[in-house]
Every structure is written in C-alpha cells, then in structure tokens.
C-alpha cells in the first residue's frame, strides 16, 4: 500500500476477504445410487429417465432413449415386470412409492405409437455372434450386441419369437401386438432370426455358421412333474403346455372344473386363463399357506377378483376321472407342510400341474468345460460358461427367473461378449453409495399420492383376454414421473444456491446444455457451514474433511 500514514483508504469490496480459509470441511456434489436403480435387475437408470420424463413433451422421447440404453422392452416391462424398483423406492417411506412401472409403460407405448427407433451405436466390428433362444434374454443380448456393432443371428427352436413372454405370460397381461412391436424393432435393426431352428449341438452350430461367440438363453420350458397316483382316465396337464396352447389354433380343453396344483405366478396365470376359457370353477391347490406362496400378491388378488378359488394347505392324493382326493396339510415348526391324513373329495374335470420348470440343456452335451448344477449351467461373473466364447443367461443359469432378470443377463452378457471379442475385458464401473432415505431432506417434497392405474372390471375379464391393467394417460403419467424424489442426484432445485449465507454456490450458466449438475462450490468463500448439505432435498451433496 503506497498511501501515506493516517489517511482515508479507498472503499474496497469484501470480495478481497477470502473466507474459504476458515473452512475445515468442504461441500462436494455427489452422485449417489438411487435405490430404484440399485434394485433394477435390468440395470436401468430409472432416476435419470424419470428426470427426462418430468419435462413432458420432448422429454418423453429422451426418457425412452435412456431406457433403451439398458432395456429394449419398455412397453413389455411396463406390463410384466415385478418392479423391485418400486419396492425399494424411498418415496414409499414418505407416502407411496413412485409408479415407475406405469410411467415406463406409458413411455413404451408412446414409442410404439410414434414409431421411435434406435440405431446401432458402434461401427461394424466384423464379428458374428450366435444367440440361441429368442426369449427376453436372447433378444436383449441380440439388441445390445447389435448396438455394439456385432452381427447377430438368433436360432429359435419354436415357431415364434418371444419365449416365455409369448408362451408363458397370458395375453391379458401382455397384449401380443405390444410384444410383436418391441420384438420387431429389434429385428429391424438387422438381427437375423431363424425360427424352428433348434440347436442340438452348440459347438457344431457355431462351427457351421462361422460364429465368433455364442450366447445361450434357451430358457426353462420343461414343466416339472410330480408323481400323482391317478386312474386311467384322469385328465392331467402341465401349465406350460396349457399356456403354450393358448398361442395355437386350438385352445386347450380344460373342462368346467379346473384344479391347478402349485402356488407360483404360473399357477395364477393358468387359473385365470382357465376362467377366461369358460371354466365355472378354477381352484388353486397349494400345500402351504398364502403367506408362503411364491406368487406375487397382486397376481393372487387379481385372480381372486376374477373368481379363482384357493385351497391352502392341501395336496392332491389321488386323481380320478372327474374327481380328486385332497389331503389336508399342516405346517410343522420349520414351516414345512406335513400330511394330516384328513382327506376330502374335490370334483375336477382336469388337473393342471404348475410346479416349476426345468431347462433343456441337451445342446451342451459333451461340450468340454460346461458345469451343470441343480439343472442349470454355471457361469462366471462375466456370464461365460466353462467353455471359452460360450456365454449363457436367462432361466438356464442360476438366478431368479423373471423376464427382467433375463433382460439384465442379456445386457450384461452382451457387454462381456463385446469385451471378449475385442480382447478388452469389460470392467463394470464401480457402484456408487446407495442414496438411502436418511440422506434425503423430505421437507421439500409436497405430499402427492400415487396415481392408481385403472383396471378392467372383473366381470369383463371373465370371457375375454383383454388387458386387465390399463395404462396412464399423458397428464397422470407426467404427474407420476414428477413424484420422483431424484434420490442421490441433483435435479436443479436451486436449494444449495439459495441457502448459502456466503453466496459460495455458483450457478453455471451453460449447465442446461451440458446436462450436468448445474452448480459449483466457490471454495474461495465457502466457510464449510454444511447448510447446502442439510437442505439438499435429494442428498446429492456431502461434506468432506479438508486436508489440513
């Protein structure tokens, strides 16, 4: 300072005083893993696509494209997924979880309506991949491999594509035009599909077709049998052939009184199908109690609404023409059902067994390195079987057997196959910390109860295979999307920018274009009070100690 002693100084701004030096902790923007994303078997970035959908209008297409990065079946998923995302949704602890599934369905239907398509993202690699099975997992792998630049051929043993989505899930849950549209979109990308082309020996098929790698997803199509002592004329069928028969010309003959044996989702599907085929009575016989039933609650509820009856704690002792002998069961201390010796008769024209499925692994016979355990093929963390270059997923590998899990396997396998083909093993990015409920400041979210999807009146469900659960329209889909709390991810609410007593949160002007978090902490002035962290609604900021 070159002023003489004892003279008035010029006015200065306090900006000269860098209060950031006071700080012992700093605020850092983070990207925590929303619980929905964490729970999604298909690895969708749900929070992110809801964020796009919240804008409405053109945001819907952006949202749909976000889904398509992970899952080629939004319209199907929006109908048949058991949505573990909603079970884990933080909003469930506030009022009700966000109807993620219904928004996904809306977006999927918009895409079909408007004919949105997806292009391959990578240049052609010149590599050829054989996919065995055109079910959810195989189609998902074919889609992702095509996007990654590989040439894909699918060999499907059956007469139509779709696998369990077609032959296992009834029409009233998944209309076939929706299934057809989403499968066609994948085929239109250049995937070759050969129908009625069962692969009997994988090594031979690969050699003959000149394939560099294979992804097996043959599913589990063989119904498990249980030994039921039966008279000669007892009419016993298995669930899958009944459901498969629904896709053919001749509908299965079940009679007026149908008994379904089993307690899973397939048992519910068959019982509800039987009702629609005109059965007066459809009775589910299950050895344990409702609480122990593997079927999802909503399936049981919908079945009951449609007049399906349940016989808990019962087993079939003997089957004869027109009647069954049922034995009462009781659960022992370990929860295992034990016979009581108490018998009763039940009239039944047919018995359908829905006791689970096995997988047909004959195509792998004699292949070196393949390991089979409990009827399924063992795969490594990269989805590769013991045989180099042969990957597998879906119902034929050990995991939960749902469409979504299969789709997830397809994506995961595609990434690893791509890495394997290019000689650069795929490294999944590290998972972020999960944005649990305690990370949120829920004060800022208004109360907004979930939108209920309309359902087809039970009386109208009896004779028809019309879709039971109806979709959302634009206005309520937008409302539902906006209920998202955006857990762990910035959604530009400006709270940090507003609540900083030191104006040390900067709002970046080009953030909208860059589509990134639009704020930055000005460390010159941030005193480290932590107010932005405690007032961030979505838990997207964290305090980190300064190195002193």
């Amino acid at each position: 300072m070159d002023k003489p002693f004892a003279i008035t100084l010029d006015v200065g701004s306090s900006l000269a005083n860098k209060t950031g030096t006071w700080r012992t902790e700093r605020a850092v923007y983070v990207d925590r893993l929303p619980p929905c994303n964490h729970a999604c078997p298909a690895g969708e970035n749900i929070q992110r696509w809801l964020y796009e959908a919240e804008e409405g209008g053109e945001g819907y297409e952006r949202a749909w494209r976000r889904i398509m990065e992970d899952n080629p079946f939004p319209a199907i998923m929006g109908r048949v997924c058991y949505h573990p995302c909603e079970t884990s949704c933080n909003r469930g602890q506030l009022d009700e979880s966000v109807g993620i599934n219904s928004v996904e369905r809306f977006l999927g239907d918009e895409a079909i309506k408007n004919g949105w398509t997806v292009e391959a993202a990578a240049p052609p690699s010149g590599k050829r991949v054989l996919v065995v099975g055109a079910g959810p997992s195989g189609l998902s792998a074919a889609y992702h491999l095509t996007r990654l630049g590989h040439e894909v051929t699918i060999h499907e043993a059956g007469p139509m594509a779709g696998g369990m989505m077609r032959f296992g899930i009834p029409k009233y849950r998944l209309p076939r035009d929706v299934l057809g549209a989403e499968v066609k979109r994948i085929l239109d990308m250049g995937v070759r599909l050969e129908l009625n082309a069962k692969v009997t020996n994988i090594e031979e098929s690969m050699r003959e077709g000149g394939f560099d790698a294979a992804f097996l997803a043959v599913g589990a199509h063989i119904s498990k049998r249980a030994y039921i002592p039966a008279g000669e004329s007892a009419h016993i069928l298995d669930a899958l052939s009944v459901l498969r028969g629904m896709e053919g010309e001749e509908r299965p003959m079940l009679g007026r009184r149908v008994v379904v044996y089993g307690g899973g989702n397939t048992a519910m599907d068959v019982a509800r199908t039987a009702k629609r085929l005109g059965a007066e009575e459809a009775i589910v016989v299950y050895r344990r109690t409702r609480e122990r039933m593997p079927a999802h609650d909503f399936e049981v509820e919908e079945a009951e609404e449609e007049g399906v009856m349940m016989r808990w704690l019962s087993t079939i002792k003997h089957a004869d023409e027109g009647k069954l002998l049922i034995e009462k069961m009781e659960l022992d201390e370990t929860g295992f059902p034990q016979p009581t010796g108490e018998l009763e008769e039940l009239e039944a024209d047919s018995v359908v067994l829905a006791l689970g499925q096995d997988t047909d692994l004959s195509l792998l016979e004699g292949v070196a390195g393949i390991e089979v355990e409990d009827g399924v093929v063992k795969v490594g963390p990269n989805m590769m079987t013991g045989c180099e270059g042969v990957f597998a997923g879906g119902d034929m590998v050990p995991d939960e057997r749902t469409v979504t899990v299969g789709i997830g396997h397809g994506k995961k396998a595609a990434r690893h196959i791509d890495g394997w083909l290019r000689g650069m093993p795929y490294e999944p990015p590290p998972k972020h910390e999960v944005a649990t409920f305690d990370k949120l400041n829920t004060w800022y979210y208004s109360d907004a109860p979930r939108t209920v999807q309309p359902q087809l009146d039970p009386i109208r469900r009896q004779g028809t295979f019309d879709e039971v659960v109806q979709g959302l329209d634009e206005s309520n889909a937008l409302f539902e999307a906006r209920r998202c709390l955006s857990c762990g991810n910035c959604f530009s609410c400006d709270n940090c920018y507003g609540v900083c007593p030191d104006n040390a949160v900067l709002k970046l002007s080009d953030a909208a274009e860059a589509n990134v978090n639009g704020y930055e902490i000005d460390l010159d002035y941030c005193k480290g009070c932590g107010m932005c962290v405690s007032e961030c609604p979505s838990g997207a900021i964290r305090m980190e100690p300064e190195e002193i």
Partner: protein, 376 residues
C-alpha cells in the same frame, strides 16, 4: 398463502427453485441475476441466519424496486461483519447509523428523497433485535407514528450477539445468554418479560406488518414484495437463527427456523392496517422439544437435572400462539397435508408425540404464573 399456488410435486413450492417452473415464477434467490445485495467475503459466522435473511430480504426488495433502494443499517452484527474498514459487502447504497437511530436515519433519507422529488427511490431501515426492540425502539415508534415511507426490517436472532450473547427484549423465556443470566441458580431467561414488536407495530395501525423466517423463502420474498407495494411505514420481522449464540450446528440454521414455525413458537403472519390478513399454517406439527433440543441455550432444560415443567410452559406458549393465530390447517386443508412427520434428515420419523395443550397442564402453569407472573 398466496405464494403457495405453484404446485410441483417433486420439490413442491418449498424448494428455492425448480427447473420445471417458467422463469417468471421462480423465486428471486433462484435467479442467476439476483443482486446479491450482501456479497461474499463478509465475516459472519458459518451458517449465519442473519446474513442469509438480509440477502433474502434485500434481494427481493432490490428486485421489487428495480434496484432503486437505499439502506440504513443499525450497529450490530450485521453492520460489523459486513463492513470492516475499508471493505464493504453491500452492493447497494448503504448507510451505517448508530445503534439506536436507524429508523430515524431512514426517515431522514426518505425525507431528503421526497424533498428532491425522487420518491421512486425507496428506503429500507434494518437492524438486529437489540437495535430494534430495545435501543432503537423510540425511533422506530416515531417512524411508524409519523408515517414515513420506510420498510423497517428487524433480523431477530433473539439476543445481542455482537456484544457476546447478551439478553435483549426479544430473548425468549428459558433461553440462556452468556452475559445476562437472571439472578438465581437457573441460567435461563425469565418468563413474563420481553416485547412482541410485530404486535406493537400493528398497534400503530401502519399499512403493513409481517413476520417471516429464513426457512420459508417464498413466503419471505412474497412479504417483501407486498411491503413494497405500500407507501408509508412498514415492518418486517424475520426470524434468523444464530449458530454461535444459540449453540446450534451451523448446518441446522434453516432446520431450526423451520421448526420454530412448525412448533408454533414463532407465528408467521401478515397484517395490513392493524389486522391480520394471513397466517402461514403449520405443515407438520412438532412438540417444542424438537426445536429446543438442537440448541445448547436450552440444554439446561434436558438431561437428568432437566426441567420438564419449563418445557411444558414453553409448549403452552406455542399452543397459545397456535390458538391465537389459528396456525393449524382446518379439516379440509389438513387433508392436503402430508401424513408422517419427517423433518430434515436425522430426525426420527413417525407421529410426533401428542402435544399437551395449555388446558391440560393448568395446575402447573397456574403455579408457575403465580410465582413468576403471567406469560406474555
């Protein structure tokens, strides 16, 4: 409340901004071009509620007057931390007065502007609770009485923080101050003293009186804008937590301001010409303990040697406010309110403990009133 009309279910209208809102509906604080009347580099403590409240209020006033604004500022924390010679954090014309005469200085500025025919330029007088409630009280009352065209803003942090946490006429009962403990074994401020300046201002029948907290930005900005629509004396009383003086965590400043309103201890309302025209309803009612526990100035009320009877008395004051100002949403409106009580992260969820009303602990309250005089 008029500012609650925008309903966005994701962040509601409670957050500062919302990317989905059209620009004209965004709060002043959400705007990149806000004036930052109090800029960075000020020496307020970490998490200072007063610095935040001053920026909220003055930015809104700057926007309402299109930048034609002059401020007169009483001595106190706000003046000390913002203007260490020769620096200033103020980005508007700003005059430092004595501790006790900010309203009179503001009057003078308004008179000078009137004499010069520049009534397009508006005047704000501001100070802390000490400078307003106690030392500057006569000047303030005079300003009201004369009808001067000044918006006076009191940033209430419930004590003289600048002089080392000293009791003021706005210090609430039972709150401990560092330098001004009452005679006797207990450190808390006595019941039955102090002044309610918003109500005294209303008694002057001035055009506009309002209270606000730093936890409700939209409400605060609305009140500043509304105040600028009137000519004549107006009074705005803003509740601003002080982490240093109250012994609270710096990150909890807004949370505490939110809780003081949700308990009913600080009624948030607005009044025109002496009549209350609107109150900010309680959204998720909580017992006073939740508010008190976050602050060490109330620590003596808790623990094995605590004073549940004092807490009950404070609850009585909150319940009285709730009754007096009608702070609970009525049945029809209540249906619109969220279910479970969940405050900021870290607070337990679930139903708040049932709140005892004043009627229920009448015996105790009567006894305390008989020995200490009636609560204000």
């Amino acid at each position: 409340m008029p500012e609650e009309q925008i309903k966005f279910y994701q962040a509601g209208s409670f957050a500062v901004g919302n990317r989905l809102l059209p620009p004209e509906q965004r709060s002043v604080q959400a705007r990149a071009e806000r004036s930052n009347s109090l800029t960075s580099g000020h020496r307020a403590c970490q998490g200072c509620g007063e610095a935040l409240g001053a920026r909220y209020a003055l930015d809104a006033a700057m926007r309402a007057t299109e930048g034609r604004l002059i401020a007169a500022n009483a001595t106190g924390c706000l003046e000390v931390f913002s203007t260490p010679y020769p620096e200033s954090s103020w980005q508007l014309p700003w005059i430092h007065s004595l501790f006790g005469n900010a309203p009179a200085v503001a009057t003078g500025i308004a008179a000078a502007l009137k004499a010069k025919g520049r009534t397009d330029i508006r005047v704000v007088g501001q100070g802390g609770d000490g400078g307003t409630v106690d030392i500057g009280f006569a000047c303030l009352s005079g300003m009201f009485e004369r009808g001067d065209d000044v918006l006076y803003i009191c940033y209430d942090n419930e004590a003289y923080m600048n002089t080392g946490v000293q009791r003021s006429g706005a210090t609430p009962p039972a709150a401990r101050t560092a330098t001004t403990k009452p005679v006797g074994p207990e450190p808390g401020n006595v019941f039955g003293q102090g002044k309610n300046v918003p109500q005294i201002a209303m008694a002057h029948e001035i055009p506009y009186v309002a209270t606000a907290t730093v936890a409700e930005l939209r409400d605060l900005e609305h009140k500043v804008e509304r105040a600028m629509e009137f000519r004549g004396p107006r009074y705005l009383h803003i509740f601003v937590p002080c982490p240093l003086g109250w012994g609270s965590a710096s990150r909890d400043t807004i949370r505490i301001a939110r809780l003081v309103k949700e308990t009913g201890l600080f009624p948030v309302f607005e009044a025109e010409h002496g009549e209350v025209v609107g109150v900010s309803k309680i959204r998720r009612r909580v017992p006073v303990e939740e508010y008190l526990r976050l602050q060490r100035r109330y620590a003596h009320l808790f623990g094995p040697k605590g004073h549940p009877e004092v807490i009950a008395r404070l609850q009585g004051l909150a319940d009285r406010n709730i009754r007096r100002f009608g702070l609970l949403a009525d049945e029809a409106e209540a249906a619109d309110l969220p279910g479970p009580a969940t405050d900021a992260a870290g607070l337990p969820q679930g139903e708040p403990e049932p709140v005892r009303s004043l009627e229920e602990d009448t015996n105790l309250t009567r006894l305390l009133i008989e020995t200490h005089g009636s609560p204000r």
